[in-house]
C-alpha cells in the first residue's frame, strides 16, 4: 500500500516554499506579471530553482540533482498551484527532466544536470494537451537539422532549450539559435502561456535515438500528468479556503452568507472532493516515486479525478464570491483559468478514463 501521508521533511519543504511564495508571489504580483511583457517570473524561478535547489528534486545526486523524489516535487507543485505561480516548474523540472532521466546518452546527461541546477530551463516541445498515451507530434529531421512546427507548447517562451521529437529521435534545440522561432500565443492561462515553435533548419543535438525517444517522452508526460494532480490539489485548496474565509466575512440579510445552508452544503461538498483529491494525488506521487502500485494507473486515476475537482473548485469560488469574483481585480479568475487549462493539459479527464479502461479491463463496447 502506498504511503499517502506527508513526511516531516515534506512538511518542512512545504513551509519553506510557502513562505517564499507568500513573500514573492502574492495575487497582485501574479496579476501584474500576466499583463507584463515578461509573463514568467524569472526572479522567483531563480529563488526556487537555484536558491532552494528545487529544479533538481527528481534528479539523483550523482547526476547533478537533489536526489529527492516525486513525493517532494508534488509538495512543491501543491504550493505553486496554491499561488498560481508563473514559473516553469511542471514543464521544466518535471516533464522535461523526467524525459531526460529516461535518456541514456551523454548529451542528455549534460542537459539533465543543467536543468537540475535550475540555471537552464527546458520544455518538451509537444502540445500541452498531449496525454501520456496519445499520438505524439513530431517534426522532420533532415540534413542534420530540424524542420517543422509544434503548436501549444507550454512555457516555451521561458525555455532556454526545447526537447523536440522527430522520427530520428529526441533532440535538444537552443531557443536562441537561428532557425528557431518561439511565437507566444494569447493563452487562456497567462500564468503558463503557450507558444508556437517553428524550426527552419534549426541546429539540434541528439539526446536519444528513435529506439528510446518515444518511451522517454511518454514517461515525461506520465509524470507530468500524475504530478499535475498535486498542482490541482493546491489550487482547489486555495479556492476552498478563500471562499470559506470570504463567506464568513461577507454579510447579506444581516447574516454572514456562509451561515446559509445552501452555501454551506456546497462548500462541504467541495471539501469532500478536496479530501479525495489529496488521496489520489498522494497516491500518484508515491507510485511515481517508488514505481509500485502501477504508476500508469495511479497517474491516470489522479488526473481523471483531480482535473474536474480543480475546475469545480474554481467555478464554485467564483460563484460564491458573487460580483467581486467576476472582477479582473480579484484573483479568483487566475485560478479559474489555470484550473480550466490544467483540465486539458496532459490529457483531459475523459482521455485518462479511457486509459484506465484498458488498464483495469473495462473495455469500451465493440464498434459494429
Amino acid at each position: 500500500m502506498s504511503d499517502l501521508l506527508y513526511t516531516e521533511e515534506e512538511e518542512a519543504l512545504r513551509s519553506a516554499v510557502r513562505s517564499l511564495l507568500a513573500d514573492r508571489c502574492d495575487a497582485a504580483t501574479v496579476l501584474a506579471r500576466t499583463e507584463s511583457e515578461q509573463p514568467h517570473d524569472r526572479e522567483l524561478w531563480k529563488a526556487l530553482a537555484d536558491g532552494m535547489g528545487l529544479a533538481g528534486l527528481l534528479v539523483p545526486e550523482d547526476r547533478g540533482g537533489q536526489g529527492a523524489t516525486h513525493r517532494e516535487a508534488a509538495v512543491v507543485l501543491e504550493e505553486l498551484g496554491r499561488a498560481v505561480a508563473p514559473v516553469p516548474y511542471l514543464t521544466s523540472a518535471v516533464v522535461a527532466t523526467e524525459t531526460l532521466l529516461a535518456c541514456t546518452g551523454e548529451a542528455a546527461a549534460e542537459l539533465l544536470a543543467a536543468l537540475a541546477s535550475g540555471r537552464t530551463v527546458g520544455a518538451l516541445a509537444v502540445p500541452f494537451a498531449t496525454a501520456p498515451g496519445a499520438a505524439l507530434a513530431r517534426v522532420r529531421y533532415e540534413g542534420g537539422a530540424l524542420h517543422g512546427e509544434v503548436t501549444g507548447v507550454a512555457d516555451a517562451a521561458a525555455a532556454d532549450v526545447l526537447l523536440v521529437l522527430s522520427e530520428a529521435g529526441l533532440f535538444a534545440v537552443d531557443t536562441g539559435r537561428n532557425g528557431v522561432t518561439v511565437t507566444p500565443r494569447t493563452s487562456l492561462d497567462r500564468t503558463r502561456p503557450l507558444a508556437v515553435v517553428t524550426f527552419d533548419a534549426a541546429p539540434a543535438r541528439l539526446l536519444a535515438d528513435a529506439a528510446e525517444a518515444e518511451a522517454a517522452v511518454r514517461l515525461g508526460l506520465r509524470s507530468g500528468a500524475g504530478l499535475l494532480a498535486s498542482e490541482q490539489l493546491g489550487l482547489a485548496e486555495w479556492c476552498l479556503t478563500e471562499t470559506v474565509r470570504y463567506t464568513k466575512e461577507r454579510h447579506q440579510f444581516n447574516r454572514p452568507v456562509g451561515s446559509f445552508q445552501a452555501l454551506k452544503h456546497r462548500l462541504a461538498g467541495l471539501w469532500l472532493d478536496v479530501v479525495n483529491t489529496r488521496a489520489a494525488a498522494r497516491h500518484a506521487a508515491d507510485a511515481l516515486a517508488t514505481g509500485s502500485d502501477e504508476p500508469n494507473l495511479a497517474a491516470a486515476l489522479a488526473q481523471a479525478y483531480a482535473a474536474p475537482v480543480a475546475v469545480r473548485a474554481a467555478e464554485e469560488a467564483l460563484q460564491l464570491h458573487g460580483g467581486i469574483g467576476m472582477t479582473w481585480e480579484h484573483p479568483v479568475h487566475l485560478y479559474l483559468k489555470r484550473a480550466k487549462a490544467d483540465s486539458i493539459a496532459l490529457g483531459t479527464a475523459g482521455r485518462h478514463r479511457e486509459e484506465l479502461a484498458d488498464l483495469v479491463d473495462l473495455q469500451a463496447p465493440a464498434t459494429p
Binding site: 486515476l301 479525478y305 484506465l356 473495455q363
Partner: protein
C-alpha cells in the same frame, strides 16, 4: 503489569498462552470467547478486568492475527455491531463499575445482543426533540413512547435508550440515558417493512416500561451528552475496514461489464469509468484516513467518508440496474423477511439500488452531515436557531 508496559510482543505471548490453554478446536465457542475476554484480549484498549489490558487500540491487530492463524472463533461482530460499536463505548465512558462488570462481558461474547432506541417518528435529524417520556417513580422510572428504525430489536436483550425526563427545559437539557430491558412486558417490537421488501428494522412501542434507576447511564438530564459518545462511535465504525480494489459496490458492476459484453453501450461506459474512478479514489481516501490514525494524526477527513460512500453506492447501484437492461426490470424477491444482519451487497442489483437509498439517511442524513462538515471542519457559522432556549414542551411539532 500495567497497561503502558504491554507491547506487541507481550500481547503475542498472552494470545499464544490463551490458545495453548484453550485450544480452539477442542473448546466450546462461547467458552473460548469468555476466556479471551478474561485474558484481556477482547479489546486490548479497554481496561484490565473489562476485556482489555489498556494497550493502544492499534495493537488489537496483533491479537487478531494470532487468533486468525490459529483458527480461533470470533464473536461474529456483524451480529452484535450495535453492542460493540455503540453501547460498549458508552457504557465504558459513563457506566458505573457495577454496570461495566454486568454488561460488557456478555455483550462482547455475544450472549446478549443490543439495540439502539434513539430515533422516533417525530425526532429524526432533530433527535434532541424526542418525546418518549421517562417519569421517576421511587427507585425506578416508567417509560412511555415510540421508537423507530431499531435494527435487531427483535433479537436484542438490551437497548440503549434516550428519553425525556424534563419537558420544562430546552430540549438538549431534559434528556436522560438508560439501559432498557427488552424483555420487559411493556416493550412491543413490530417489524418495519422497508422498500426492499424486508424488515431489517423495527418499531418499538414502550408502554409503562419499568427501568430501575441503577440502569441509568450518566446523570439525570445529561443524556444528550452521553448520546454524543454513542453517535460519534457510530460514525467511526462506518467504513472502518480496508477494502481491496473493486471491493465495494463497484465490484459486481465491473464484473458484469467484463463478463457480458452484450450489455455495453458508450454512454454506460463513460459513466461506469467515472464511477470506477470515484470509487477507487474514495477507497484511497479510506486508506489515507487509516494511515493518519495509525500515525496518531487523526484528521477531520473521517466526517466525510459516509457522505461520499452514500452517494457513490446510490449512483453505482443505479447504474448497475440500468446496465442489466431486461434483467434490471426484475427483482429477486419481495418476500417480507427479518434478516439478522445488514448486507448491502449480498443480494441482486435491484436490492442494492433500493437498500443504498438508506445510506444517505441512516446514521445521520447527508444534509445533516454536510452541516457538520461545514460548521465543525470549515468553521462556517450556524444557521440562526429558534429552538435553543425554548422549553421542550413549547416547541412546535
Amino acid at each position: 503489569m500495567t497497561g503502558s508496559a504491554i507491547d506487541a510482543a507481550e500481547l503475542r505471548r498472552r494470545t499464544r498462552a490463551l490458545l495453548a490453554e484453550h485450544p480452539p478446536a477442542a473448546t466450546d465457542r462461547t467458552d473460548f470467547l469468555k476466556a479471551r475476554f478474561d485474558a484481556g484480549l477482547a479489546w486490548v484498549h479497554y481496561p484490565e478486568g473489562l476485556g482489555g489490558v489498556g494497550a493502544p487500540r492499534s495493537l488489537q491487530a496483533v491479537v487478531g492475527a494470532e487468533l486468525e492463524a490459529a483458527g480461533a472463533p470470533d464473536n461474529d461482530p456483524r451480529r452484535i455491531g450495535i453492542g460493540l460499536g455503540m453501547a460498549a463505548p458508552t457504557i465504558l465512558g459513563f457506566g458505573t463499575d457495577e454496570q461495566k462488570r454486568r454488561f460488557l462481558r456478555p455483550l462482547w461474547v455475544g450472549e446478549e445482543v443490543w439495540c439502539q432506541l434513539f430515533s422516533e417518528p417525530g425526532a429524526g435529524s432533530d433527535l434532541a426533540a424526542l418525546g418518549t417520556r421517562a417519569v421517576r417513580d421511587g427507585e425506578s422510572w416508567a417509560v412511555d413512547g415510540q421508537k423507530v428504525w431499531t435494527s435487531s430489536a427483535h433479537v436484542a436483550r438490551w437497548g440503549i435508550l434516550i428519553a425525556r425526563t424534563d419537558p420544562d427545559v430546552p430540549k438538549h437539557r431534559g434528556i436522560t440515558y438508560f439501559i432498557c430491558d427488552m424483555t420487559d412486558p411493556g416493550v412491543e417490537v413490530r417489524p418495519l417493512r422497508q422498500i426492499t421488501g424486508e424488515a431489517e428494522f423495527n418499531e418499538v412501542f414502550l408502554t409503562g416500561v419499568r427501568i430501575p434507576d441503577s440502569r441509568r447511564l450518566g446523570a439525570v438530564g445529561d443524556g444528550w451528552k452521553v448520546a454524543q459518545t454513542t453517535l460519534m462511535n457510530e460514525r467511526v465504525s462506518i467504513g472502518g475496514m480496508r477494502i481491496p480494489r473493486e471491493g465495494g459496490m463497484i465490484g459486481p458492476v465491473a464484473a458484469a461489464w467484463r463478463e457480458r459484453p452484450g450489455l455495453r453501450t458508450h454512454d454506460l461506459h463513460q459513466r461506469l469509468l467515472t464511477l470506477w474512478v470515484r470509487a477507487e479514489v474514495a477507497r484511497l481516501t479510506g486508506d489515507r484516513l487509516r494511515q493518519q490514525l495509525v500515525a496518531g494524526q487523526p484528521g477531520p477527513e473521517g466526517s466525510g467518508m459516509k457522505l461520499g460512500f452514500a452517494r457513490l453506492n446510490q449512483e453505482i447501484s443505479g447504474l448497475e440496474v440500468e446496465l442489466l437492461g431486461d434483467e434490471g426490470l426484475l427483482y429477486d424477491d419481495w418476500t417480507m423477511r427479518r434478516p439478522d444482519q445488514v448486507d448491502f451487497t449480498g443480494r441482486e442489483a435491484g436490492y442494492r439500488y433500493l437498500r443504498s437509498k438508506g445510506n444517505s439517511i441512516e446514521g445521520g442524513t447527508s444534509e445533516v452531515l454536510l452541516n457538520i462538515v461545514a460548521e465543525r471542519v470549515l468553521g462556517l457559522p450556524p444557521e440562526p436557531r429558534t429552538d435553543k432556549d425554548v422549553a421542550w414542551k413549547d416547541l412546535s411539532r
